[in-house]
Structures are given as structure tokens and as C-alpha cells.
Symmetry: C2
Subunit: 215 residues, 2 copies
DNA sequence: GGGTTGTTAACTGTCGACAGTTGGCAGCGG
DNA sequence: CCGCTGCCAACTGTCGACAGTTAACAACCC
């Protein structure tokens, strides 16, 4: 029932370290000490090093020769460049989803949208995990494992960049509308419309992140 | 002059191992023995393991717990799924290139095309490295480092899958025409046309690889 | 006093060795 | 003759220790 059930210490360390980075317990800019972290995780430096390199390949850590690893800090240029990649990938996913979706896919997407609106209306907070769930459901509908994997990696980076950034209720409401429009386009099998909506949606998210990054 | 100038043994091992895999010196399906390869490279197992994990993150190797790493074998389904990702990335690159290209970019692209035609006419072989050079020049014109990096990884996998596959002169000529059409569209700044040509080009390459994979 | 150089401590990069697991092979029983 | 069980070799996973490098601090010279 737990998908990431790694037997090796290195595999476990990857998951633990990933959570530490994404949850902000190792804030951006912090250097990672191998011996200290190895002791904290109760493992040796060998597996930990493999885990660090793995996270670096996911770009959740930055390696500097002879100076160890540190969590990257958010840059405006980084956000812009990253969203170019995200747009390319998720627009393609939206296009494929519109062409391949089943009724079950549409039902799942609608369910996530409904759940999002409910929590937004009641608690007035749009939890990010529901946003991620929506984009993941769209990826499932696209049925393209390689694209899905790459989107997962990019979204991880977005989560890291977004950590510590303020929320913006009007933006969240607009995102909900975008999601609804996406479901409509996908349900109708309108690939062109789906990509157009996705492009607009990501442009909005990108703009919100850039403005939240300024002060 | 040599960009990948790694100081660490692990970094060097990554480059050596990558060449070994891409040049077919470790054929697909072959298992990699850590102690043997470490001795062959004159290094210890530690750095080699890090190199192996790195190549696995680039999907040039497949890791099986307690059974080591092996070079993946080409599957038709794999080619299809991979080209979905490649299409998404390179179409976006073509679109950005059309919007951002400079005269120098166009000159470089034209030069690569001319060189390709010359070798094709004289030696009747269309060297793959010129094909790669063209796509790389297009990426430079797109000026999107993240997309460029991902395309580089995908193209590596394509090279691996294509290793051992027969060439097809008519297909090569069509590819040359595609490249010329791409240069024209990019030079004209016609993003829509550039993505359309790229999509068609990649569909052709994908079809050629799938037919060459059948027997 | 500012800049430079020598020193030192901390950390990464690397190595060799040990332990645990896997797959194959031989021997045994049916 | 076929299937099963127990052993064995080979390999991976992990650990602790050593060597090389970096950066900061302190002493020294100008």
C-alpha cells in the first residue's frame, strides 16, 4: 500500500531527504553536512551520498565540488525558465489527455475539482495538495509515463520554489476556474482548447509566483 | 576546450560509462559487474556506484535491487512513449526558437544543414552526429536551458535505442528536407509553422525507428 | 591599519573490507 | 527421470577509516 517501499538504505534516505527538502526542514541556501546528516538518519555516509546525488539529479539539491550540497534558492530567472519546461510538458499532457481520456478519467478530474471548490468555499484555503492531485489526475488521463515522470520532477521543483511564498486568494479562485475549464475541454475531447487553457493557466501561476517572489 | 572536465573520479566515470553505453561497447541487456568495471576503470567501487546511479537517473542503465545494473533493451512501446516526450519538448523548443532566434542562430542552423547535405551527397551517409548537431543548434536558438537539458537526456536515450538499427537513405533525405523547412520557419519567425514541421519530422523519425525495430 | 601569507580544522572524495542477499548447482527423495 | 531441498559461490549493500582539498583564522610584513 506504500508505493515507495525501498529496501535499501539509500532508497529510504532518498525519500526521507526529499521530504526534508520539500517540507522546508532544510531551508533553501542551507548546506548539507554529510557526517551530521548520516548520523541523524542512522546510516553511513555511503548510502547517504548516493541519496544526495539522486536528489541532485532531481535538482532538489545543488552539488559544489569539495563543498558539498545545498538546497537551491528561488530565482526569478529560474522560475521563468522552469515554467517554460513545465508549459511544454503539461500542454502536451493536456493535449494527450483530451485525446485519450475515458469516462473514469473525467469522473476523477471532476471529483478533484469539486473537492477543491468545497475546501475553498469552507476553509477559504486552496490546499496545494489538491492542486497537485488535479494535475496528477490529468497526467493519468494522458497515459504517457515518460511525460508524467518529467512533470512530477518539474512539479517537485515548483513546490520547492513555492515553499515560503504567500498565497493569493483571487489567484486561487482563478486557478479553480482554469481547472474547471480544463475538465470541460478534456471531457469534450477538444485537444486544442485543452492546451490553450493549460497554457493560460500556467502563465497565470507563473505570474503569481514571480510577483510573490519580488518583495 | 573539453567541457566535461570533472575533477572527481565519479564525474570522470560518468563520462566514460556514458560513452561505453552509447557506443554499444556494453550492449543492451548486458549486466554490469561493479568490481570488474571498477578494476577496468582503475577506480574503487564507491565512485563507480555513484556513476552507475547517475547513469540510471538518465535512464541509460536500469537498476535491479541486489542484481546490479544492466543496459535497457529497445522496446516498441518504449520508443512510442519516449517520442511523446521528445515531441513535447522539441516542439516547444522549435516554437521558442522561432520567437527568439538571432541572425547568428539562423546562420548556424543553415551551416549545419549545408554540411549535412554535402556529406549526404558525397558519402551518401547522413552521420547521426550532424543530426544531433542540428537539433542542438535549434536548442541554442530557443534559449531555454531547462528544456535544452531535458532534450539532451531524451536524445541520449534515442541514440541508445537507435544503436544497432539500420539506416534508411530515403528517410535520411526526408529528414534533410525537414531540417531545411525548420530553418525556413525559424528564420521567418513563424512559431506555428516551426512546431508543425517539427511535429511532422519527429513523427517520421519515430515511424522509421518503429519499422526498423520490427524484424 | 590593510593586505598578504602560513597554519589549521572541518569536510568531502576515495578506498578496502565485512555482511546480507540472490541465483545456481549438487545431492536427495519421490 | 523429475521435483525438491540444502549448500555454495558471486555479487551487491553497507560500513569505518584514510587522504586530499577548501576555507577560515591568525600571525606577519609593508
Amino acid at each position: 500500500m506504500t508505493p515507495p517501499v525501498h529496501l535499501s538504505l539509500a532508497g529510504q534516505a532518498v525519500d526521507v531527504l526529499r521530504d526534508l527538502v520539500l517540507n522546508g526542514e532544510i531551508p533553501p541556501g542551507t548546506r548539507v553536512n554529510e557526517v551530521e546528516l548520516a548520523a541523524r538518519l542512522g546510516i553511513s555516509r555511503g548510502p547517504l551520498r548516493e541519496a544526495i546525488r539522486h536528489l541532485a539529479s532531481e535538482q532538489l539539491l545543488v552539488l559544489v565540488p569539495h563543498r558539498g550540497a545545498h538546497v537551491p534558492t528561488a530565482t526569478a530567472a529560474d522560475v521563468a525558465a522552469l515554467f517554460e519546461l513545465r508549459t511544454a510538458l503539461e500542454c502536451a499532457a493536456a493535449e494527450l489527455a483530451a485525446a485519450r481520456r475515458t469516462d473514469a478519467d473525467v469522473a476523477r478530474l471532476s471529483a478533484v475539482c469539486a473537492e477543491s471548490r468545497r475546501t475553498h468555499h469552507s476553509g477559504e484555503r486552496f490546499p496545494h495538495h489538491l492542486d497537485l492531485a488535479f494535475h496528477r489526475a490529468l497526467l493519468d488521463a494522458a497515459r504517457s509515463p515518460h511525460i508524467a515522470e518529467q512533470v512530477r520532477l518539474v512539479q517537485q521543483r515548483v513546490v520547492l520554489l513555492r515553499s515560503g511564498l504567500a498565497d493569493d486568494p483571487p489567484h486561487q479562485r482563478a486557478s479553480l476556474d482554469d481547472h474547471d475549464a480544463l475538465v470541460t475541454a478534456v471531457a469534450a475531447g477538444d485537444a486544442e482548447q485543452a492546451t490553450a487553457v493549460m497554457r493560460k493557466h500556467l502563465a497565470r501561476v507563473r505570474a503569481q509566483m514571480l510577483t510573490a517572489l519580488r518583495p
